[in-house]
Symmetry: C2
Subunit: 521 residues, 2 copies
Amino acid sequence: MTNGAQSLLSTLVASGVDVCFANPGTSEMHFVAALDDVPAMRGVLTLFEGVATGAADGYGRVTDRPAAVLLHLGPGQGNGLANLHNARRARTPLLNIIGDHALSHADFDAPLASDIAAVSATVSTAVITSTSPDEVSTDAVAAIEAAMGPPSGVATLILPADVSWGATTSAPAAAPLPVERTPASDSEIMLTARALRSAQRPILLVGGRAARSGALEDAARVAECTGATLLVETFPSISTRGAGTPVVNRLSYLPEFAASQLEGCDLLVLADAASPVSFFAYPGLEGDLVPDVTEVIVLADASQDAPGSLAALAAALDAPAQVANRNPAGLSEIPTGPLTSAALAAAVAATIPEGTVVVDESNTGGIYLAGATAGAPTHDWLALTGGAIGYGLPAALGAAIGRPEAKVLCLESDGSAMYTLQALWTIAREGLDVTTVILSNRSYAILTMELARVGASAEGTAASSMLDLSNPEIDFVSLAGGLGIPARRVTTAEDLAAALAASFAGDGPTLIEAVLPAGLG
Amino acid sequence: MTNGAQSLLSTLVASGVDVCFANPGTSEMHFVAALDDVPAMRGVLTLFEGVATGAADGYGRVTDRPAAVLLHLGPGQGNGLANLHNARRARTPLLNIIGDHALSHADFDAPLASDIAAVSATVSTAVITSTSPDEVSTDAVAAIEAAMGPPSGVATLILPADVSWGATTSAPAAAPLPVERTPASDSEIMLTARALRSAQRPILLVGGRAARSGALEDAARVAECTGATLLVETFPSISTRGAGTPVVNRLSYLPEFAASQLEGCDLLVLADAASPVSFFAYPGLEGDLVPDVTEVIVLADASQDAPGSLAALAAALDAPAQVANRNPAGLSEIPTGPLTSAALAAAVAATIPEGTVVVDESNTGGIYLAGATAGAPTHDWLALTGGAIGYGLPAALGAAIGRPEAKVLCLESDGSAMYTLQALWTIAREGLDVTTVILSNRSYAILTMELARVGASAEGTAASSMLDLSNPEIDFVSLAGGLGIPARRVTTAEDLAAALAASFAGDGPTLIEAVLPAGLG
């Protein structure tokens, strides 16, 4: 006899969903037991739900397939919510399975009861509650289809305990993967081509699936033959970078800089990118960064085939097959001297191997990274899409499972690292080839900047102490060791470069605490 | 000129809300800056929102006054949600302040935007969004009043950034504290007294505010003069225990045991306690633990004055002034030999000083604690009210700030500790007198038990590995050291007792990793 949990796991595996990041509790015990019956499912234990959801985000970004997460009722979902938010903003396909009390228990308002669906709805493209063991398979298929989209995103399946343990009579179904997306229509392509040709200062802004290798090539071809400026969104879910890739600048995080990038623009063409707005509001600054006079054309949104649309647009423009303006290979000189943000960027650029997946949550300490690594060996770059800190370590874990052949480099600022540090334990447990660099400046440096930018001041000690992480100093070498990761602390550029090179030369996880000047230094 | 944030802080302080556990971000920078202008507000920085909300829960439980938390938009609230859930179940007065994007930014769907109010509503008795600087003070008063109740609980104030930075013209208001509660009416008291006198096997179940010293005395007087069995709810928010307090058993967590405690009961009188239901559903077991034949009388619910109702009931029954059945002082013999759960309980009982606040998240490793400490010096006991693990370390932090004269002992199981370990850093930063014992059995032992109880099995390695925390072993001494807390590991009963005694003899934080037998041993 098969129970609902076994049917669910068979359905997931048959649909290509064969990794589950799990923080199970009592209501999920039949799901856990079913892992023995469906060995093709890889269960990955995490110590905190924010690690599970962030890992599924990282996995989904590098594979374009959903991982499942298994969370324990409403509080488990709460713990995972911030990284579900980031996944929602990344449009990562992700199957969010939440164990709930048995349906028979629903009326009792037991201590762990809460409104799970109301919270799920804030991050999900679909919320499905399975109400019988025989329906759990088709419910799972519907949830996987919702996760794949288009548009892709977080789909939530609420799984009552008695649906897990009840007997099924029907055979498990399977969801078709991958899905087809439709490009812009011929007339839309023609209209966009005409507009680009006649614009004085056009900008092509790419994001989402259009920030990757093939699509980026086509976007660059379009830009070069029309004189458009090619920009990539500020925080792409995954983008292809490095030597030989087309030259493309990122839209700045700082609204003043972004506004100057957009100044004088008479045509803005969007390929799987949102129309630029300021990340935060600031007193006296406009939130909408697009000049009033700019015509905005959405070539393709997240539901459409943006790469196909860019290819069609390049063809319609008779764009040359080859991109002229490519990033030249950079210098791989090992930096020396004091460890500054610039030196850190140079050390990364000088050491990363071809094909590295970089998970970037370096925030202020990482300001020189984009420039320094433009000519580094080709790599993929994952950014913090939703602004909810604590995504880096979990996403690195997920990316390493999704792309086992690659080196994964996690660039993690100290304040953000402390949100989901538990990820290190799972990285150690799974023996993943992840190099973590903690950018340790012992402060919420970005807030020191933002405090001034919003027109507030922290001249007194009460306010400024809220931005300070130096009392006590956090010892990341001890923390990593306590979670099973070999670690060392570096204070010079050459030591950082050597530590990075040594880590990349080996297999398995390491952590490097890179001590940077305090604050914004 | 005063801005909204300054007006808010002045209102809080004037209302007796003078502690704020904070994880601020850009949208909260004016609140942070205002800490310099309103020095009576104590800002306590945490590294993770779940620490802030759990600390406010612990603070509110020991003071009956709300602390404020300051969270950063929807993801910050998500990170804090599990401990808000626990606070909701504890009916802890708590002011949940969430910074949001400026109202002027609301239409832009910026990366950090999400439906904050929908999530707040799942844990809050009131959700108020402040829409102008001049209204923020009266909105804060309304939120504090909602937090105080009755019934008390989590009240949420959503604070857009431009409400914080905008100028106010009105003077700050203040909420009246504390609030009055009404006891049961005379006729309800008479009816309950008559029912208790005529019942064959009555049970008086106390919880909430009725689990504390004075109310517990009156409850015991009622029980003794009517022959009722006195029980306290399974997970009280705070209860008075130890030598000299009335003998009272806890309603069991395990539904089979709880059902046997309730068997044959013809009258159940509830004083600020919910009617007993099973914590989880199990195949073939009833969820409602109250026999069908039992008459249930709610003497007082959480909105009413349960202590006053118990006092009136004791008077109506002409109950003797003195309780006969009190816990005798226990033996304070120092245990020796291997460190087991029983030895751990004995070591705690032998060493805790009078007036200790015990924060209990010991789960399976703590099963002998209640029995062993029944005759220990009088102490207060905080339990995990909502089942969302990760409450212990934060609640200990908050309790230590709320009751600075007391020793705080945090009994924390390893799996739960890893949820909100960041609390140790704030405990170190604030120099709090908290002794933390990690019950390190390197497993989710409770799940090993629950797996069998729900009728599932984990004979294979895939399932059983999901309950195992031994690969790699978590080194809590390193982790505590990395967060600024002196720590040691103990493996014998006498070493644990010595470490506890040394910690209680000193001031300031320490951590003891108590290595227990694996699993349920």
